[in-house]
Structures are given as C-alpha cells and as structure tokens.
C-alpha cells in the first residue's frame, strides 16, 4: 500500500473567492431572468394573489355598503380604504413570498446544482427577484391609484420604505429557513406553519389599525415584528399615522436576529442536507 504524501494546504485568496461568488450570483440572476423571459405568465401569476385579495376585499366592502349594512368598512386612516389595504398587503405578501413560496424549492435536499453553486446563492437570487417583483407591483398599484386622482398614493416620505422592506426581507428569510428545518424534523410542522401564517396575516395589522384596538390585544399584537415593519411602511404614506405601538428598534433587533439566525441555520444544516 502506498504511503500518504505530505499534506499541502489549499491557498485561495479571499479576493478570488469573492470574485467567484459574484460571478456565480451574476450567472444565476441571468439564468433566472432567461427562465422568466421564456415563461413570463408564471411570474405574473405569482403577483396576482395580493391583487386578487385586495380586489375581493373591495368587492365585499361595496356589497355591504350598498345593502346599508352596519358592517360596512370604513378606512381606519385617510380617505381611501383601497390605499390602506394596498399599503398593508403589498409588504405582507412580500414577506409571504420570501418565506414560504420559493424558499422550499431553493433549500430542497434533492435540488440538483453544480458544485460551484450554493444553497445560499439560490436564496439570495430568490430574494433579489422577489424584491424586484414587489417593487414593480407597488409602482403599478400605487401609480395607478395616483393617476386615478388619489394624491395620498404618492409617498410623502421615502425614507421609512427602505428600512421597512429590509426588515421584512430579513424576517422572511429567517422565518422561512426555520420553517424548512422544522418541517424536516417535525412531520406536522407543515400544518402548524400554515395555521401560523394565517394568524400572522390577522396579527400584522393589514386590515385594521393596531393602535385603535383594546390594550390587551394591542399588547399581544405588539410582539409581532412584522406589524412594526408594516406600520413603518405605512408611515411613508400617512403623515398622521399613530406611532403609539411602532417600535423601530424592536423591529431592527428582530430583523438582525432573524437574518443571523437564518444564516447560521443555513450553515449548520448544510452538512445534514435539510
């Protein structure tokens, strides 16, 4: 039997690694763009869900109003309930699309990829494309409202939009990865995650103004960091938005924790093929 030769350490410069990583990300972005160009309908269909939800809520509202029902909805803030729903559901669906829809495909253990590609690269590409999708959706929806004469649809302050979307992206990334890991470990977690998702839709303040609820409910809802991110997003459109519950530092801590936790989980589970 042959003797083992002396061990030689692998020397790859940090700059070279970064260059290679950027090259892979650029190649994956280009491929995703080409896939979308080949089948544009699929990417449009994914954006229809939030639009459909907003439209169906508006239909309900008009039906109740016409029947003179006391259940007729009024806008919790501002003159337009459509704008209130749009500013709530667009960031909410951005969170859902990051954390639930494609993330399972990106981290699936049987996903085939070339050795230079990485699971994290897939996740980053997924995140970038969702951000582009929802920015376009927001421009289309809010732009159409503005053109229809709703002056409130144009943000009076653009500054809160960026941290709100960044916080939602970080929260979605961490929450989505945690769900994937728990789904592999606990067989019923799939059903629990769906129920939690529905509960979070109600608890994130898309349909109502959290500050106007009773103190007990307000205390429970204030633990949801997503609610703070949506509230911050709305402050860009409503100068008079109440800031009693809004805690940006809590939101930032949760977002940083979710991002670090998600990255750590991705790193740890890489060896276990979750």
């Amino acid at each position: 039997m042959m003797k083992n030769p002396a061990i030689v350490r692998d020397v790859v410069h940090f700059g070279g690694k970064i260059r290679r990583w950027l090259r892979v990300i650029a190649a994956l972005l280009r491929k995703e763009e080409e896939v979308r160009r080949e089948a544009p309908v699929l990417s449009i269909l994914e954006l229809i869900e939030p639009l459909f939800l907003i439209a169906s809520l508006m239909v309900f509202r008009f039906t109740f109003e016409r029947s003179g029902s006391p259940m007729a909805f009024v806008a919790p803030l501002g003159g337009s309930i459509l704008l209130y729903y749009a500013t709530g559901f667009i960031p909410k669906y951005f969170f859902i699309s990051i954390s639930f829809k494609r993330i399972s495909q990106a981290v699936a253990p049987n996903r085939r990829r070339f050795p230079v590609e990485n699971r994290l690269d897939d996740l980053i590409v997924h995140l970038i494309f969702r951000l582009i999708d929802y920015t376009i959706l927001a421009f289309l929806v809010l732009g159409t409202m503005y053109l229809c004469g709703m002056k409130e649809a144009f943000p009076h302050d653009f500054k809160p939009i960026v941290p709100a979307l960044a916080a939602i992206a970080a929260l979605g990334f961490g929450w989505g990865l945690l769900n994937q890991v728990l789904r592999r470990a606990i067989w019923f977690w799939y059903f629990v995650s769906i129920a939690l998702n529905r509960a979070m839709l109600l608890m994130s303040g898309c349909l109502f103004l959290p500050d106007l609820l009773s103190p007990e409910i307000r205390w429970w809802i204030s633990w949801n960091p997503e609610m703070h991110a949506i509230a911050l997003f709305r402050t860009a459109f409503y100068p008079q938005y109440p800031r009693l519950l809004l805690d940006t530092s809590y939101m930032a801590y949760c977002a940083i924790f979710a991002l670090l936790f998600g990255l750590a989980l991705e790193r740890v589970t890489r060896r276990y093929q979750v």
Binding site: P5, D10, P115
Partner: protein, 243 residues
C-alpha cells in the same frame, strides 16, 4: 492534491425498500488521506452508492458530516451529471449558463459544444425535448469539455468514450493525456487498462493502493458478501410479492 482531513460521512440505511433516516451506515469514518491529482485512479467499493457519495464529496456537491476536504486543484463533477440544467430553457442557454458559472466565454463555449456535439436544431430547443440518450451524451460532452485538473468518471462513461467515431473519444483521449482521473468502477479489466492507482472503500475505510489488482482483491470478500445479501433480499421480495 486532494486532502481528506478526518472526514466522516454516513448514509441512511434502506430496509425493505424504505429509507430509515435514524439508522445509518458509515461510508467514511474518520478518514485522513491525500489523493494525488496527476494520476488515473480506480475507485472500488462494494456499494455503488458509496462511490457516488465519494464523488460528490470530492467535487463539493456534498459536505462531509465531520471533517473537511481540501483541494489544491479543480475537481470536476461526475462526468455525465446533469446538474441544474433547466428543462424549460433551450440547450444553448443552459450551456451558456454553465460557461458563466465556470468563467468561460459563454458564446464561444456554446458554439464549441454545438459544433462538436452535432446536436443540430435540437441545440436551440428546450432541454426537456432532447431524448434521454442525447441528454446523457450531451452531459458527458459538457463534463469533458470544461477545463478541470481532475475528472471523475464512471465505467459506463468510459465505455461510451471508447467509440472512436464519436467526438467523446477525442475529448476523453485529450483529457486522459493531460489530466488526472478518478474512475469509479467494479470492472477490473477496465481498471487495469486505464488506471495506475486505486482507491478501495470498505466499511468506512479508504485506502490508496499503487497496485490496482491488489486493491480489487482486498475488496473481493466484501463485494461478495454485499452481492449475496442483495440476492437474498431480492429473492425474499420475489417470494413475498402477491401473485
């Protein structure tokens, strides 16, 4: 040089057709070994799955459970591996994507593959429209066309490259002269013909041999036991099958 540093890798055990994740069998247990990159090495193992796991470990498709694999050379993915080819994208686009991943000129590389492989109009049609045989040939041509220091092949691929009329033979011949190879096989004749060293995997151990025949002989008993166990299992399944 490819260096395995205290590498441990387990695989889930298949019992009666079902995968039992709680029970594992070691593929490599605490293995430290340096594999030369400029030689043609045969890889023997009693289990076929162990060989493919080892190939994935070397190229970086799988991370070891414990330890690490250090490489000073570029190791190819197993030649014939389809990777992340998108079935809905045209073949040309898939080739261009691969070229971008490996820092090659995408247009030139796609042109080269189209010319060399003689895929004709199928090259501009979706990958899913290719027949399975053409897909396999395409994946082999791609694997051998990309520049690596060490190529990982299996015996079926080597046999496919023997046809002197096919371009695969020329590509293989060129790589055979200038690059290292790891050929996973159970065929001793093929190993003796192409390889000048051998790796033998058995019960979590990995040994490097200078003599190919010696490596094959060291695994003969283990291979026989596994084959006997497989035959017994198949016989039992045939008896249990409803008539």
């Amino acid at each position: 040089m490819i260096i395995l540093e205290q590498v441990t890798m387990n695989v889930a055990v298949h019992t009666r057709g079902a995968t039992v994740y709680s029970k594992t069998r070691p593929v490599l247990s605490n293995v430290s070994l340096a594999i030369p990159s400029n030689r043609r090495i045969a890889l023997f193992s009693a289990f076929e799955s162990d060989k493919s796991i080892f190939n994935s470990l070397l190229c970086g498709l799988t991370a070891p459970r414990v330890g690490r694999v250090v490489k000073t050379v570029n190791v190819s993915f197993p030649v014939g591996y389809g990777g992340s080819f998108r079935p809905d994208l045209p073949v040309r686009k898939n080739v261009e994507h691969l070229a971008r991943l490996y820092d090659l000129d995408s247009k030139d590389f796609a042109h080269f593959i189209g010319e060399v492989g003689r895929f004709g109009p199928a090259f501009n049609r979706p990958y899913s429209e290719m027949s399975a045989i053409t897909q396999a040939r395409f994946a082999r041509i791609i694997g051998l066309s990309l520049p690596f220091d060490v190529y990982q092949l299996n015996d079926r691929c080597v046999v496919a490259c023997k046809d002197k009329r096919d371009v695969l033979h020329q590509l293989f011949d060129e790589r055979f002269q200038n690059a290292g190879m790891i050929i996973s096989t159970a065929n001793i004749k093929l190993a003796l013909e192409y390889c000048n060293m051998a790796l033998a995997m058995s019960e979590g151990e990995l040994r490097l041999y200078d003599d190919v025949q010696e490596a094959f002989d060291s695994l003969r008993d283990a291979t026989r036991t596994v084959r006997r166990r497989e035959r017994r299992y198949l016989r039992r399944r045939t008896q249990q099958a409803p008539t």
